[in-house]
């Protein structure tokens, strides 16, 4: 999805919300689900958050005038909505538990199933890629939320830094720094998981 088609979509939505909304759902459901899933680490919660985000987007636009809908930057706007819902979920879950658990044991039915990779690469390679995805997803979800959101939006969802600044409502310089810091944390965590014995020695 390029910026151009999003602009065209915003124009269509401003002309006739009801007849164009399905196109928005189809164009953005995968990325909103991905953002929620990679942020929350739970498939069931992610589906609810993505669904809720799209419903809220519709209701918000239903109350906007034509110009306001046309001016929407759909990619960062929708990302903001889904991230806010994800953060609320985390806060509620932490409130319910009293503490933030580091071992994120997904509830029954919520475990994220990594999709099978391209089978033409051979079963061994396919298994490796699936395992790699599972592992990186686990590392991402263990990042502190303040770095997790920028890293997911920049490198999983592929937002530009200007879009990221809109989505997170922070200056571009700040989100850049947060992405870099997030990547550095990821690298440390990855290397620690590769060499658990070395971490023990230096601990």
């Amino acid at each position: 999805m390029t910026m151009d088609t999003d602009e065209a979509l915003a124009r269509r939505l401003s002309d006739d919300l009801d007849s164009s909304f399905e196109a928005l759902v189809l164009a953005h459901q995968d990325r909103l689900y991905t953002i929620a899933n990679r942020f929350l680490g739970n498939a069931h919660d992610a589906e609810e958050a993505a669904q809720d985000a799209l419903v809220r987007a519709y209701r918000a636009m239903a109350g906007y005038d034509t110009d306001r809908i046309r001016a929407l930057q759909l990619r960062p706007w929708l990302a903001t909505i889904v991230l806010n819902l994800c953060r609320n979920r985390l806060a509620r879950a932490q409130g319910a538990r009293g503490t933030l658990s580091l071992d994120r044991e997904p509830p029954e039915g919520g475990a994220v199933r990594e999709p099978a990779a391209d089978p033409s690469a051979g079963p061994a390679a396919s298994l490796d890629r699936r395992e790699a995805r599972r592992r990186w997803a686990e590392l991402v979800v263990q990042l502190p939320p303040v770095y997790r959101a920028p890293v997911v939006l920049r490198h999983v969802d592929g937002l530009s830094y200007p879009e990221l600044a809109i989505a997170l409502d922070r200056p571009e310089g700040t989100v850049k720094a947060q992405v870099h810091r997030g990547l550095a944390l990821l690298r440390t965590a990855f290397e620690a998981s590769e060499h658990p014995e070395r971490e023990e020695m230096t601990a």
Binding site: F21, D30, R133, W136, G158
Partner: protein, 272 residues
């Protein structure tokens, strides 16, 4: 066995692999919740398998259909919306519908009447006020919504009731006192549903043919629709029947404030 340190490009490439596909039900659920599509399921009823469609705004369709494909195409024709098959009605909704149909007026069932004209909406909402076990003539609805001459249009609006049983259009009968047509499978179903509500359609038609359209009490001098709950409490020895409200007024009876019998309704030529 040390691995080479991983660089940012490799991490970014790994993160780029983390895209997922939304679960199949997500888009339909969103569209249904905002009312741009519907879910539907079947439920058993005394008059056969009922198809019920609903969305985030309320129940949108109740109908009898021979099969899913038939229902879906008819739903699309009537609403211009897609209908997605659900395995069953949401339990809370099913329970409210069942209570409502059984006559519990505290059971609230929201209905989606988008696409209906203001007039049709007025007619349907008025029909929804008729209590379980009672009937009113078309002319009563016309008078109640301030369109006393629109009796035929009331009949048409009820014939297009998208949510029969929930909006009980079966409780509206012809002004001449015959039971009349029913969109949900014909007049036999209408009689069966009314009978199940404790109303005797045969006795009602017999009395109507004899010209007994309104009933009153000699002790209170109040005149009612025959099925009004106050009218049904009148003892036989005090009961009096009227052909028209004018006749009742001439005899010194005032209309009941609960069932508000409408003048004009019933004042028609009684078929021989």
């Amino acid at each position: 066995m040390t691995t080479a340190p991983i660089d940012d490009a490799a991490i970014e490439a790994a993160l780029g692999e983390l895209s997922l596909t939304a679960p199949r039900g997500l888009a339909p659920d969103v569209l249904v919740e905002v009312g741009l599509a519907d879910h539907y399921a079947t439920t058993q009823s005394p008059i056969g398998t009922l198809y019920v469609a609903w969305n985030g705004r309320g129940v949108s369709t109740v109908s009898l259909a021979p099969g899913d494909a038939d229902f879906e195409s008819r739903h699309r024709e009537q609403t211009s919306r897609k209908a997605f098959r659900a395995s069953s009605l949401p339990p809370a909704l099913a329970a409210r519908i069942a209570r409502r149909i059984a006559g519990d007026r505290r059971a609230r069932v929201r209905v989606d009447l988008r696409g209906r004209s203001d007039f049709e909406r007025d007619v349907l909402l008025k029909a929804a006020e008729i209590p379980h076990g009672e009937v009113r003539p078309y002319g009563w609805i016309a008078a109640e919504i301030g369109r006393p001459k629109a009796v035929r249009a009331v009949g048409t609006a009820l014939g297009h009731n998208p949510v029969p049983l929930i909006v009980p259009c079966h409780r509206v009968v012809r002004t001449d006192g015959t039971i009349g047509h029913y969109s949900l499978g014909g007049s036999e179903n209408k009689r069966a549903i009314l009978a199940a509500e404790g109303f005797d359609p045969d006795a009602f038609e017999r009395r109507s043919r004899a010209g007994a359209h309104y009933t009153g009490s000699r002790t209170t001098h109040i005149v009612c629709n025959p099925t009004c709950r106050h009218a049904r409490r009148v003892m036989d020895k005090h009961r009096v029947w009227f052909r028209s409200l004018d006749a009742a007024a001439d005899a010194g009876y005032r209309p009941c404030k609960v069932c508000r019998p409408a003048s004009g309704a019933g004042a028609v030529a009684i078929p021989a």
